[in-house]
């Protein structure tokens, strides 16, 4: 009996020590990201904020394999650390003078903040589902909202349904879909039905930009769904990230050749003096990418997005 008690106590002590050891390790610095300075569990995410020098990073998961959501250099805000936020500027190649913009998904707020910085007159609406995210974007990532840059706490699809019920319906010149970054992908923001609703709030000469990952079969399914709904879709492939932008122009917006894209980018670069190189973004255009025909269009009825995402592609585009 005594022996048994001792065993139990020893095991308990071991477990507690191991747990304490592990938790203290994870609280320490992470190579490349620096110190964990803030942690919050929300309904949707485990939010982690890391700081290394003046660089702050946002992650929704501790595992190193999981993609960073945002990274900001607080001593040089216009420097965009992650490639994908620069790639989202490709929308300007289709619509150089946007009046209204919609961004689904806030994260660290880099995309709307930078758009607001370069286009102070641009009206920006952001829909973010997680109410814990905007305070963190403001506190750690230099994000500010104002009467030209409004954050709405709402599911992206519900937000668009509400916009469609307004009279008159607000038409956006550029719509950026950036709500599917984490490990879990909301299927209802990728389906044919959703894109059709999105079409209802898109200006005739506007463009939809979707941030996706191109190393899996979900990429093909999304591209195919975009082609089905919009009829046309171009792809900007990231150079050193797994990100790609799908760009679906509205009915009267242009399709770009590689040369047109680069020329337009040079003009934009001269006009706005971006801190990054816009022609480099334009050079990521791959006009000839077509989806694998074996994948099916994503619908509200059938959208196995989280499974497709795990199906890696052997041949990258």
């Amino acid at each position: 009996m005594k022996n048994r008690m001792r065993k139990v106590i020893l095991t308990l002590v071991f477990c507690i020590t191991a747990f304490w050891q592990l938790s203290s390790v994870s609280a320490a610095s992470v190579p490349g990201l620096g110190q964990l300075i803030h942690q919050k569990n929300s309904l949707y995410h485990r939010i982690f904020v890391y700081k290394s020098g003046s660089v702050v990073s946002l992650k929704f998961d501790k595992r190193s394999a999981v993609q960073m959501q945002s990274q900001v250099n607080l001593s040089n805000l216009p420097e965009q650390k992650l490639e994908y936020t620069k790639l989202t500027f490709c929308g300007l190649l289709y619509k150089a003078q946007p009046q209204k913009m919609l961004v689904l998904g806030l994260g660290g707020g880099v995309i709307p903040r930078e758009m607001h910085y370069y286009f102070p007159a641009l009206d920006i609406d952001v829909a973010e589902i997680d109410p814990e995210i905007p305070p963190i974007a403001k506190q750690f990532f230099g994000f500010r909202d104002d009467d030209k840059l409004r954050v709405h706490i709402s599911d992206g699809r519900v937000f668009i349904k509400q916009q469609l019920r307004r009279d008159p319906v607000t038409k956006y010149d550029i719509i950026i879909l950036d709500a599917f970054n984490g490990e879990y992908i909301p299927f209802h923001l990728m389906t044919k039905e959703f894109l059709e609703e999105l079409k209802g709030v898109l200006a005739e000469d506007g463009v939809v930009i979707a941030n996706v990952f191109y190393d899996n079969r979900l990429f093909d399914a999304e591209l195919k769904t975009f082609l089905t709904v919009f009829g046309r879709c171009q792809v900007f492939l990231g150079a050193n990230s797994g990100n790609a932008m799908l760009a679906a122009p509205g009915p009267t917006a242009p399709m770009l050749t590689f040369k047109e894209a680069v020329d337009r980018a040079s003009v934009l670069q001269r006009q706005h003096g971006f801190a990054f190189d816009m022609p480099t973004v334009a050079r990521r255009l791959r006009p000839d990418i077509l989806p694998d025909q074996r994948v099916k269009v994503l619908t509200d009825d059938r959208a196995p997005v989280n499974w497709l995402r795990t199906q890696k592609k052997r041949k990258l585009p």
């Binding site: 949707y44 599911d155 209802h188 389906t191 059938r302 196995p304």
Partner: protein, 234 residues
Amino acid sequence: MDYQSSNKTKWANGRKLRAVEIILIACICGWFVMELEILGIRVLAPYFGSAVYVVMGSVIGVFLLSLSAGYMLGGWLSRKANSQRTLGINLMAAGAWLCAMPFFTEPVCDGMFNVGFDEKWGSLLAAVVLFGVPTLLLGTVSPTAVRWLTTQANDSGLNAGLVLAFSTVASFAGCVVTAFYLVLLSVRRTIYVSGIALLLLGVMILLQTFIQNRQDKSRKAGEVEEANNEKQDA
């Protein structure tokens, strides 16, 4: 009380099924309740968003409420002499509802928004309209099954435990299999197939009732005839 009177006829009210069959029916219904619940969340998300607490809370809440109403109704129906026929009809009705559901999902959900409900009330009411009736009907199974298995008051608790345990394990299976695998398929088709399965189960129970009733009648008629013959012989 009922127990004694049913003891004489050996079987409980209107019961013509074996114990294994009764528990199997409870299991099948347990499976479909949870399958439907998970698919319900999946069906409503495109209309009311995937805000965790809103759509999930609505669907789970509505299922619990409908089940409790179903338990009440099932308990009441189990006292009727023809409870087996009623159960067959209930399952057929639930199956038919599921087969029809894909046709009115969109008008109901869009209607909730058009009337002016927000995501919370909209998803709650849509869940009531879409899933209330079939869940209520599936909820009538457990109490009826308990009644059918019980021939002595002393066994009632054991039988209730048996039915609840088996049907809940089946619910667990339905829940996990749906959430992990069936959601990858077409939701519409999964609901159709489930509806047809329930319809068939209801038809089978009704057929069984019908056949047993005829056999009972002819047996009774035979017994009466025999008695008459004996009288005449005497």
